[in-house]
């Protein structure tokens, strides 16, 4: 099954997890403490985030810590930037068309 970053951020709990671990690496239990949900549900979200390569795991002693892959998050910004540029170009073109029509009318 294809997993991508947009699927990762489509869910509100996953967005909240991303916000939490952006600040510091956390264990699944510490993450689950912040939510009104089961430990299994948090594990499921962490698995999806891991499959999307948005988070990485690190073993420290007996505990596994999850932290954010900052570079992967930047991909989302890049995509939004592309979308934005389409509209910028499109509307700058419209400016020119409008001013051409206005000048013709004069």
């Amino acid at each position: 099954m294809r997993r991508d970053i947009f699927q990762a951020i489509a869910d509100p709990t996953r967005r909240a997890i991303i916000t939490l671990i952006a600040l510091q690496a956390m264990t699944p239990n510490a993450i689950a403490d912040n939510f009104n949900t089961t430990r299994q549900s948090v594990s499921k979200h962490l698995r999806i985030l891991t499959e999307c390569q948005l988070v990485k795991q690190e073993q420290q002693g007996r505990e596994i810590y999850y932290s954010l892959e900052i570079d992967k998050m930047k991909e989302i910004d890049k995509w939004i930037e592309q979308f934005r540029r389409i509209w910028e170009t499109r509307f700058n073109q419209l400016d020119k068309v409008l001013s051409t029509i206005k000048n013709k009318k004069k």
Binding site: D4, P12, I80, Q82, F83, I86, W87, D95, K96, L98
Partner: protein, 164 residues
């Protein structure tokens, strides 16, 4: 200087919101969005071009058009008008299609609002997509190549279009 573009993506509502002001009166801006001969002059980001095959701007009517790449590759779409309040608002359902007008559903829902103040017209566009993945596809559908050119050459192209 062009007017600033206000662009936001609300991931929780799966909606893109675009606001922009134009230095022209409402009637002219409305025409630019609703008349095929004007639309085709600006809808496709250069160096792509827009080619409208059918357009009946009425509720239940449609625009069937293609974005044409510099190499002549055509990406067809259908915009089916679901609501029109003249010079105020119109809505359509946008779907990618093949050249025989077979749509690929689900599409995206577009809502465009127009208002004028002191000769400046504000346009607000909202685009709702059922999935963010599909939004991603809107970009992948051919636009990438169009943006590899530098902004400089884009300016040149626009200037030459203007002089024609």
């Amino acid at each position: 200087m062009s007017n600033p573009l206000d662009f936001t993506i609300d991931k929780s509502t799966k909606t893109a919101l675009i606001n922009r002001e134009f230095d022209a009166d409402l009637s002219l801006v409305w025409d630019a969005f609703t008349k095929q001969e004007i639309l085709d002059q600006w809808w496709a980001p250069a160096p792509w071009s827009s080619k409208t095959k059918v357009m009946n701007f009425e509720v239940g009517g449609r625009r069937f058009y293609a974005m044409v790449s510099p190499e002549g590759q055509e990406h067809w779409s259908i915009q089916k008008y679901s609501s029109i309040s003249p010079k105020t608002n119109f809505k359509f359902l946008n779907a990618f299609a093949d050249e025989n007008e077979n749509p690929q559903l689900p599409g995206s829902e577009w809502d465009l609002t127009f208002s004028e103040q002191n000769g400046t017209t504000k346009v607000s566009v909202s685009i709702y997509n059922e999935s963010l993945e599909r939004m991603e596809k809107m970009i992948e559908m051919g636009f990438k190549e169009g943006f590899t050119m530098t902004m400089n050459s884009l300016e040149e192209l626009l200037a030459s279009l203007k002089n024609n």
